[in-house]
Amino acid sequence: MRIGVVTFPGSLDDGDAARAARIAGAEPVRLWHDDPDLHGVEAVILPGGFSYGDALRCGAIARFAPVMETVADAVQGGLPVLGICNGFQILCEAHLLPGALTRNQHLHFRNRDQFLRIGSTSTVWTNQFTEGQEILIPVKNGEGCFVADEYTLDQLEAEGRVVARYTRGNPNGSQRDIAAITNEAGNVVGIMPHPEHAVEALTGPSLDGLGFFTSVLRALAGSSAGGQLAGGNHR
C-alpha cells in the first residue's frame, strides 16, 4: 500500500508521518507541493508544520498548491486523506472539512502529551480503535482552536463526525473539545494532535497513534477486495 506524504515549504512533520506510515506497514511516498501528480498513492497525509510560513492564515496559501488541486479532486472519488495539525488547517481552508482553526484562546503555544477520546470509528482512519477509547498522543499548536457555527457543530455531532475530543483538559479552547473531525463520506479526517509522534516507545508517550495508520491500511485492503476505492461505504 502506497501512502503519500506531502511536503510543503515549511512542513515539519512530513518525515515523522512517512516513518509512521512505514512502521504501520505501508510504503511511504514523498509528494511535493508543486507537483500535481499523486504518483499512484492510495492515501494521502498532509503533515504538520508551518506551510508557507503560515502567511495570511495557517493553510491559506497551501490550499492553492498544485498538489492540493489534485487531492481535492481525488477526495471526491474517495481518496483517504489525513490532515494532521497544519494539514487539518489546510483541509479546512480548502473547504474539504467544515470550520476553521484559530489562535489558541489563551494565546500560548501548547506542547504536551494529550489525552483524547475517540468518538467515531467508522472513518477510514479510525476503524482500528474502539468507540470511547482513550488515547494519549502529543499536541503542539498555537492555532488549534477549532471553531464553527452552532449549526455546523450540531450537525457534526448528530452525524457522528466528531472523530476525537480532548479529554482531561482542552489545550486550546476548541469548541465542544473537538480535536478531530471527518467529512460526510468518512474518507477525510483532520486532527490537531499528532498521531505520527506516538508510534514508537522510544520517542512517543504511547503507541496509540499507530491506529490511524493501520486503520487506513485495513480500509484499503477491504476496498481493494471489494474492487472499489475506499470512501462513501466506510461511514
Binding site: L56, A60, I61, E93, T102, R103, H106, V147, G173
Partner: protein, 84 residues
C-alpha cells in the same frame, strides 16, 4: 498606480483572544472606558493600471478572508489613485 484596500475582520460571533489581550492591557495605560477591542487585517493591493474592484473582491473572497470566520470590505484608496 492604483490601490485597493481590503479590510478583513473576524466575524462578530468569533472570539478574538488577541483583541481581548489588548483590551485587558488598557487599564495599565490608565484607560478604563474601553469595553471591547477587536483586531483585524488591512491589505493593500496595488494594480499596475486601473483599479479592478471585481478582481480585488475575488482575491479577498478566495484568499484574503476565510468566509467561515471572517468578513471583508473593499474600497478604493482615492489618495493614491489621484496621485497616479
Amino acid at each position: 498606480m492604483s490601490r485597493v484596500v481590503v479590510d478583513v475582520m473576524l466575524k462578530p460571533e468569533i472570539l478574538d483572544p488577541q483583541g481581548q489581550a489588548v483590551a485587558n492591557a488598557l487599564p495599565r495605560l490608565g484607560v478604563t472606558d474601553v469595553s471591547s477591542v477587536r483586531i483585524g487585517r488591512r491589505i493593500e493591493i496595488e494594480f499596475a493600471g486601473e483599479p479592478d474592484l471585481d478582481t480585488a473582491r475575488e482575491i479577498a473572497d478566495k484568499l484574503l478572508a476565510n468566509p467561515v470566520i471572517e468578513d471583508f470590505s473593499i474600497r478604493l484608496d482615492d489618495a493614491v489613485s489621484e496621485d497616479a
